[in-house]
């Protein structure tokens, strides 16, 4: 793409121009991805794939989506020069892509808006979703309220307990929050339960998966809806920096914010793409959520990808201080970008994330969510490596209001 074309590129969901063209027609990213679901769901998955393929090519859909992203979500989100963080790190200039300023306070709404418009076009009358920290649940409840569709959110009972404010938000907006007690009662169990609901209510129900994982077409579809982030970064970089950034850094749980930021840059070889997984108490302990660095390939929740699992192939629980990152898998496209070496994957511990959380609050007056705090924890090294003449974009995927209780507890403060 020429510079002029880049500058003139609309902030829309127009087809991407990457030569990189994954997934293939079977929904695979190399060996990853695919459609590993119960036979009952296969016709529904095919129906969804066909509907999404037709819809994304429809200019009226893209115009409708752009309208809601602009006027309801509040896009484009700013690309903000973090001057004091830059000075503090003493390396490359650090820019924050402010997804925390979106309606509902995180990037999750980008995907929910796309999927709810698709669900409406498909004539579906009931929405289900899974949630961990509650951010995707809140975003799903939000779009369901906006379009008047009933919404059931599955949430691990443990998460319901520790994320009460988000549970209340969802209920305020009319969603039904169903606590899941099976298994360890966290995100993966909520996803199991949502799949069970879907397989039971095949006629009228649309399942809004919150991350770039699950059976095809979800990983590609969620990526496409989140790619508005990366497309905006491109245009804003050209406008504000005068060139593309040297690196884009984002946190990874399932990895939807990261893939949305990375994907438009995959063919731009000069741009380093850096994902940061949650190392919990450390990769040398069992208590982490780093599927790429501490797991191996397997099949769960409809796709083949890197998973945290024991030698028998039983899935083990991820741990992270951030409820949005403690998923034992990762989106299949990240698995592929990892294997082919196009993206780099690092990790940050609970402690490092807590430090970064406080640093950003104090230096920039921006309280970040614990999820992007993991990414920020690695920015010091990346900024040094890139050097003073360079520019790094950190994806500020969400705001930290939801995390103040967790952080206060770790700092020994009683709220």
């Amino acid at each position: 793409m020429t510079l002029v074309a880049l500058m003139n590129a609309p902030l829309s969901n127009a087809p991407l121009t990457n030569a990189y063209a994954w997934p293939d027609d079977k929904g695979r990213f190399g060996p990853y991805g695919g459609q590993f679901v119960a036979e009952t769901l296969m016709p529904l998955i095919h129906e969804l794939d066909a509907a999404y393929t037709a819809t994304k090519a429809d200019p009226t859909f893209q115009a409708e989506l752009d309208g809601f992203l602009t006027h309801y979500v509040g896009r484009a989100s700013p690309l903000y020069f973090a001057e004091r963080l830059t000075d503090h790190f003493g390396g490359a200039r650090v820019w924050l892509k402010r997804e925390d300023l979106n309606h509902t306070g995180a990037h999750k709404i980008n995907n929910c808006m796309g999927q709810i418009l698709l669900a409406r076009r498909m004539g579906k009358t009931r929405i289900i979703a899974e949630t961990g920290a509650g951010q995707h649940g809140v975003a799903s409840a939000t779009v369901c309220a906006r379009f008047g569709l009933p919404c059931t959110v599955y949430m691990g009972a443990v998460d319901v307990e520790r994320q009460q404010p988000n549970v209340f938000r969802m209920k305020l907006m009319g969603a039904e929050v169903t606590p899941v007690t099976a298994g360890a009662a966290t995100l993966k169990d909520a996803m199991n339960e949502a799949m069970r609901d879907w397989v039971t209510n095949v006629e009228d129900t649309y399942y809004i998966i919150g991350t770039a994982a699950g059976p095809h077409p979800y990983p590609a579809m969620v990526r496409d809806f989140q790619s508005v982030i990366g497309r905006e970064i491109k245009v804003q970089s050209m406008d504000q920096i005068g060139r593309l950034p040297d690196a884009v850094v984002a946190c990874i749980g399932g990895g939807s914010n990261a893939i949305g930021a990375f994907h438009p840059f995959v063919d731009d070889e000069g741009v380093r793409l850096i994902g940061v997984e949650a190392a919990g108490h450390g990769l040398d302990t069992p208590d982490h959520a780093a599927s790429l660095k501490g797991g191996r390939p397997g099949v769960l929740h409809g796709n083949r990808t890197y998973l945290l699992q024991d030698p028998d192939g039983q899935i083990v629980e991820g741990h992270s201080i951030s409820a949005g990152l403690d998923y034992p898998g990762i989106g299949p496209e990240h698995a592929w970008l990892h294997d082919i070496g196009r993206a780099e994957y690092l990790s940050a511990t609970d402690e490092e994330a807590l430090e970064a959380f406080q640093l950003c609050s104090k230096l920039e007056g921006i309280i970040p969510a614990l999820e992007p705090s993991h990414a920020l924890a690695r920015v010091a090294e990346v900024a040094k490596a890139v050097g003073k003449d360079g520019d790094i974009v950190l994806l500020m995927s969400g705001r930290g209001d939801k995390d103040i209780f967790t952080v206060a507890k770790h700092l020994g403060v009683n709220l």
Binding site: V37, P297, V299, D312, G313, V316
Partner: protein
């Protein structure tokens, strides 16, 4: 082909003019020893075919009874290899009853397709049902199973139209498992009126016997299905007997086997009752 045991069993059922009874139990539920005792008692209690579940941490298509059974099996330490060893122990005393393994793909992926197929064949397994491995994804596994003469039993469902059925029944043998309701195991019950034409459709598409499962909880229900299907599968209701026995501090095997007897008697009597 080791599907010989499955084929022989369905041929015998046809001669007898009745449907078969398929009993699903979970490996290691509630302990390895008790599970082996249950397995050994199943043929005598009237099970014509055994479906042996291997535990998985995330059984996405199961209702609460089988989820809990899997948790008990995992707690008892039953790995996939442990399940195969258990089946091999059963096979030492019974060379006629087909044993179908049923579970999820990841433990098999973890062992490796070829290694799994060899080990399953050595353990006397006849077929395999993998809930989260639809035909589109089954190529490599089917290749490995074919090399050992094992059948990948396929699932047909109420959402399978004629076009889909063609794909579902490709590269399979033994029998087809018709999931009679859209849903998870052990919850909803299908309308009997909808089962008969579905079974006929699956039979026609596959040329194979059709076993019907999901939501079979009572002898009456089992008999209804037995009038139209080649076999009737019950699972949740059996693993619930394990749970009830544990709650009541009773021996599990006698309780499970009594339920198997009640259900299999109903299946055996179904078509006789119809002709009387």
């Amino acid at each position: 082909m080791t599907t010989a045991r499955i084929d022989a069993r369905f041929a015998a059922l046809k001669t007898e003019g009745r449907a078969g009874f398929v009993a699903y139990v979970m490996a290691g539920d509630p302990t390895r020893d008790q599970a082996l005792e249950i397995l050994r008692g199943l043929p005598g209690a009237g099970a014509d075919i055994i479906e042996l579940g291997f535990p998985f941490s995330d059984p996405m298509a199961e209702g609460p009874p089988i989820q809990r059974a899997a948790q008990r099996g995992l707690k008892a330490g039953l790995t996939l290899q442990g399940t195969l060893d258990l089946a091999a122990d059963f096979r030492k005393g019974d060379d006629a009853t087909p044993v179908i393994l049923m579970g999820y793909l990841n433990p098999i992926e973890s062992m490796g397709h070829e290694a799994f197929a060899r080990a399953a064949n050595a353990a006397g397994i006849d077929g395999l049902i993998v809930v989260d491995c639809p035909p589109e994804e089954a190529g490599p596994l089917t290749d490995a199973l074919d090399a050992e003469g094992l059948s990948l039993i396929r699932l047909a469902t109420p959402t399978s139209d004629d076009e889909r059925l063609k794909i579902v029944v490709s590269r399979t043998s033994g029998f087809v498992y018709y999931v009679s309701v859209a849903g998870v195991t052990g919850v909803k019950e299908a309308q009997t009126a909808s089962v008969a034409p579905a079974v006929e459709r699956v039979r026609k598409a596959s040329g194979l016997p059709v076993a019907v499962g999901f939501g079979v909880k009572t002898p009456e229900r089992a008999a209804e299905i037995a009038r139209v299907a080649d076999a009737v599968v019950a699972g949740s209701v059996l693993v619930d007997e394990v749970a009830a026995a544990l709650d009541a501090n009773e021996p599990t095997a006698s309780r499970v086997l009594a339920k198997v007897k009640a259900l299999s008697d109903a299946v055996r009597g179904a078509r006789v009752a119809e002709t009387v």
